[in-house]
């Protein structure tokens, strides 16, 4: 196992390229954290990836043998590029979360496949000297389990966000999941402590481990309600990062190691930040069954009052300050452009218009910002909920468009509510509230919203796009 036996010019070029790639990944992530440099950051990381891939094909050696099957590898890369490119270019911005989930699943599957292929080929010398209980086998098995869970979990998340898969909630689910998790750990220990001469003897057991991991990924995401989906995607994202890093251990490959670990740690922190925004603990998301279903103890009092289009137009036009709270409903109706038109006609009439963006508005944190940016809303106009809340008592009208849970006062009033403690946009503090909604359906967390019964609140029912269009026309004609 002396590296210097295989030293060559190519190997040093390869390692230098990996160092450059790692630096580009770090720079890319760093630049991604500032709005103005974000796009360059993404490009830098992509260049790093391209260099690493090219150098691997050209210079990688295993026991002195260069990479073979180059024709097939090139063909696979071309196929993957065409498909990936087309999907990424075609998909609507509203479908972004499921797309990230889909690509994440592909990475997880790739990691799992690598482990599957490496498992039977653990060096016999290594097994003779230390048995199956060595770091090499551990890296393979962890890569397999984590990659597979990430794959099957991401596919379920993709299906759920796309509306193809429903929720499955059974009370005992968390115990089943916990039991499977314990089984997986025990099974890894079992494989590693087995007394064999060749790892290929354990191959059937590896397939069992694979099967159970698929099952765990499915059952893990299945009961999680829509409101928690961003957290799950972010978590699975960091899982795939860790699975990739396992490959780094396996091949002594520094680019895989740094890239994977960076994403693993960054993704975990992002997940924790998101959990905090929703006032939930990570453990609760992983083991717990959340997302509604429980009846709130607060009974509904009062009634819902509607407002006519012309009244709404007058109210808005003669306000000084208006705050728009956009939600996923706005995005689904593709109403972000017409919404921006409304804020422009109001600004022409001297109304100050701001957007209040809740951290989890839309389906992912920051998703709403992307959607509004698509409609050319300047990002100076987008205010985060914590900053806008103190300003709301001086706001004449809050317009809630297709948002529900993020303005639900139950988060402050009702300790029995599943969203209790989640920071919200305190819409009820404004002087007037207009809620645009398709109907009286519940939000993604499937709980009643007392805001709609508030006496300052008026409902404007209908599809967000056509309602906004009519509203713009009304305001213009005033």
């Amino acid at each position: 196992m002396n590296e210097f036996n295989h030293y060559s010019f190519g190997i040093s070029i390869l390692e230098i390229t990996y160092i450059i790639a790692s630096v580009l990944f770090i720079l890319g992530l760093k630049k991604l954290s500032h709005p103005l440099s974000a796009r360059r950051g993404n490009t830098l990381a992509a260049i790093g990836m391209g260099l690493a891939i090219l150098a691997t094909i050209l210079f990688h050696q295993k026991d002195g043998k260069p990479i073979g099957n180059i024709g097939f590898i090139a063909a696979a890369i071309v196929i993957g590029t065409i498909i990936g490119w087309m999907i990424a270019k075609k998909v609507k911005m509203t479908a972004m979360p499921q797309l990230v989930s889909f690509f994440n699943g592909m990475g997880g599957a790739a990691a799992a496949l690598i482990s599957m292929m490496e498992f039977p080929h653990v060096s016999p010398d290594l097994i003779a000297s230390s048995g199956m209980a060595n770091g090499h086998v551990l890296a393979i098995l962890l890569g397999l389990v984590i990659g597979t869970v990430s794959f099957s979990g991401s596919m379920v998340a993709f299906g759920k966000l796309d509306g193809k898969v429903g929720d499955l909630r059974i009370k005992s689910m968390k115990f089943v999941n916990l039991a499977i998790l314990i089984f997986i750990v025990a099974f890894v220990v079992f494989i590693m402590s087995s007394d064999v001469e060749s790892s290929s003897e354990m191959l059937p057991f590896m397939y069992v481990l694979f099967g159970v991991s698929v099952l765990y990924g499915v059952l893990f995401v299945m009961p999680i309600g829509g409101a928690d989906m961003p957290v799950v995607i972010s978590l699975l994202n960091s899982f795939t990062g860790i699975a990739a890093a396992m490959g780094g251990f396996l091949y002594n490959n520094l680019a895989m190691l740094t890239g994977g670990i960076l994403v693993g740690s960054a993704g975990t922190i992002l997940t924790v930040l998101m959990c905090r925004a929703m006032n939930r603990s990570l453990l609760n998301v992983i083991v717990g069954v959340f997302g509604g279903g429980e009846e709130s103890s607060v009974s509904v009092t009062g009634s819902v009052k509607e407002i006519t289009l012309s009244d709404a137009a007058v109210l808005l036009s003669f306000s000084r300050k208006v705050v728009i709270v956009p939600g996923y409903g706005l995005a689904v109706a593709q109403a972000q452009h017409i919404c921006h038109e409304l804020d422009k006609v109001l600004e022409e009439k001297g109304v100050e218009v701001k957007y209040a963006i809740h951290p989890v508005a839309g389906r992912m944190p920051g998703h709403m910002n992307v959607l509004l940016a698509e409609a050319d809303v300047p990002y100076e106009q987008l205010i985060e909920s914590e900053e806008i809340n103190p300003d709301l008592p001086n706001t004449d009208v809050v317009v809630v468009i297709g948002a529900n849970d993020v303005v639900n006062p139950a988060a402050e009033d009702d300790p029995s509510s599943p969203i209790y403690g989640m920071p919200i946009i305190k819409a009820r503090n404004a002087r007037n509230i207009i809620v645009m909604k398709r109907g009286m359906g519940k939000g993604y967390a499937a709980i009643e919203n007392m805001l709609f019964y508030n006496e300052k609140c008026r409902m404007l029912f209908g599809d967000a796009k056509s309602t906004l269009q009519n509203l713009v026309n009304e305001v213009k004609s005033l």
């Binding site: 993404n42 696979a76 990936g84 496949l113 960076l262 992002l270």
Partner: protein, 100 residues
């Protein structure tokens, strides 16, 4: 136990690197404004596509038909992750351009 200690000793530099990378990842992310969370998640998603390197390595040394097929699949999926991830992130960030 002996094996584990030996493993840690042999891979001490990698473990060192892992620990530093963890802190680096945390440090880089913690200053990100919420507005960039989605593009960032998507960008990070593309970066873990680095797993494609492993796919190329197994494919490059595959000998049986079975492992060729699996390797081919792994490279295709890894490429999907990389290309799709970067392109979609770019598409999102394109919209953040400041208008004049």
């Amino acid at each position: 136990m002996e094996n584990i200690l030996q493993f840690i000793y042999v891979h001490r530099e990698m473990i060192f690197l892992v620990i530093l990378s963890i802190f680096l990842g945390i440090e880089v992310i913690s200053h990100v404004p919420a507005i960039l969370h989605t593009p960032l998640m998507s960008g990070a998603n593309a970066i873990h596509g680095v797993v494609i390197i492993g796919a190329i390595i197994v494919m490059g040394h595959a000998e049986t038909t079975g492992s060729m097929i699996l390797g081919f699949l792994a490279v295709v999926l890894g490429t999907l992750n990389v290309v799709g991830g970067f392109v979609v992130t770019d598409r999102m960030l394109e919209m953040f351009k400041r208008k004049k």
